[in-house]
Symmetry: C2
Subunit: 307 residues, 2 copies
């Protein structure tokens, strides 16, 4: 069975959870940590999960606070916040062998491209994580719902490698699917992320509050339509019904605060470039009129730098 050595670059909630699941199932996982390094090195991981709680003792994994101390690995899983993407060279460079694969599970657009430019497109896969995971305390993670990963080749199409990684995840209590078209998947997720993350942060409103009246719903729909039109300008045809479907799904989610709203509330950097700036840049380049996206981007950039 495929059992690569694995590095988790960015061991926050998402990286910590998925890495811990892989280690729990016997894989050799090397976590790169920053603020929580000491706590995790000394006490291990505590994972509360809707799929079953578990813990990892320090001997069951490896923890580091800089990449230079880590071994080269077979698979690098990238889960740092996109606001730190300019640290890719130092964080990932030291871990690469000739045939090391890099899988980014980050949000939004531009991550695969940045990794490909630095380390070669052939290495790169991208994935979308559909999950609700929070860091409760250093080394203590709470996974409350979902958990699906959908991943695919940056270059597109199926591959033995994408299937192997998918099997590895599925055998480690992580539901995983291969995406035939990663770019399609990214745009599909952006249809939700742009309005709910963007408006959640600018208006300081949870998803249920945003959908609580016709004005909020219209705002969401207009932004979604602009994302759909921008995707279409790149050749990605999302179905018209996606807007209604996403709104209905969100109504079923109850009270939910997006990561960007929480980031603003806690005066942390927001993933503006990956989630809103990326799509806007493409819209501008392709001559697609997206005034709401433009205003949202200005509003986010405006509040970002005032804390």
């Amino acid at each position: 069975m495929y059992s690569p050595t694995i590095a988790i670059i960015g061991s926050g909630a998402v990286g910590g959870y998925y890495g811990a699941r892989l280690a729990q199932h016997g894989h050799r996982v090397h976590f790169l940590l920053r603020s929580d390094f000491k706590a995790v090195e000394q006490n291990g991981w505590i994972i509360e999960s809707c799929n079953g709680d578990f813990g990892l003792r320090p001997g069951q994994f490896h923890a580091y606070n800089k990449s230079a101390d880590m071994p080269k690995v077979d698979l690098v899983i990238v889960t740092i916040k996109t606001t730190a993407n300019d640290e890719f060279p130092n964080l990932i460079g030291p871990l690469l062998k000739e045939d090391t694969t890099i899988l980014t599970l980050q949000n939004g657009l531009g991550n695969e491209e940045a990794l490909a430019a630095l380390f070669g497109a052939k290495r790169v896969l991208g994935g979308l994580a559909f999950t609700c995971i929070n860091r409760v305390a250093p080394g203590h993670i709470r996974h409350t719902a979902h958990g699906l990963i959908r991943l695919g080749e940056f270059g597109g199409g199926p591959s033995p490698r994408a299937s192997r990684i998918t099997d590895l995840f599925n055998a480690s209590a992580i539901t995983c699917e291969v995406l035939q078209n990663l770019v399609y998947g990214r745009w599909e997720k952006l249809v939700w992320n742009v309005p709910f993350n963007g408006l959640g942060a600018t208006l300081n409103r949870s998803t249920d509050q945003l959908l609580a009246n016709p004005s909020g719903q219209k705002l969401i729909e207009e932004l979604m339509a602009e994302v759909v039109a921008t995707a279409a300008s790149t050749g990605i045809q999302l179905p018209k019904r996606i807007i209604d479907e996403k709104i209905e799904q969100t109504k079923g989610m109850g009270v939910y605060l997006t990561s960007m709203q929480l980031d603003r509330q806690n005066a942390r950097p927001m993933e503006i470039a990956a989630i809103v700036g990326g799509p806007l840049e493409i819209a501008v380049k392709n001559g697609i009129k997206t005034p709401f996206l433009q205003m949202l981007h200005l509003a986010l950039s405006s509040v970002e730098s005032v804390t």
Copy 2:
């Protein structure tokens, strides 16, 4: 000398301050109050003002909690929040003689029109209050800066009546000017009010924070340009330099929270229709593209109904 009997409809910060100034100078002022009625009836007014503090004892004015108890007067000054404009008939109807004049000092568009439709256009004047006044406690008002009133006929042009009221105000420690073109004055004020009130409330940002970076400033400029274009579609030509001028003036104001931001923070109704909805309606009717105004209106309406 002209000394009309005066009713102040809406004796909050603005109505309380201007009414108290008129009563201080010997005019017969009848205040309509709501929540602060008992306190003011029993203890009078306390006015702290950058133009000189003063107080009014209960015998120096008249206080009421419903219009039906008030006498008919010569001059009705309207200072209720525009969100209560649907109460005009009950609030103002009982006070009118054949020749009673109505002066509205409310924010935004549509107030003169609503009064004219109900009580006849001939009665109506409008005014703009440029001032910083807060209600500190029941019957206790703090006037911290400015205070200018600019007023004019709803029908336009100069009039002996507008001059008489202006003289009355100036003789009562209220700096006042006649506006040759009230509608021009309203649009000029909207150039400021739309972005700073609207964005202040949606983004929860003070005027200095909104101007603290290029994104915020661009957002302000785009909204101002849409208001200027909308005004132009009605025949009101504001000078191009107004945008830079308003921004420079605002930079000189320091930390300032607009009324709409404070209303949202305190879960009070916001003056969305008068300040943002009115201009947007005119833009749509005249076929002027104002996407930022439209998005701002949706955002305000969205947050308004969720408290």
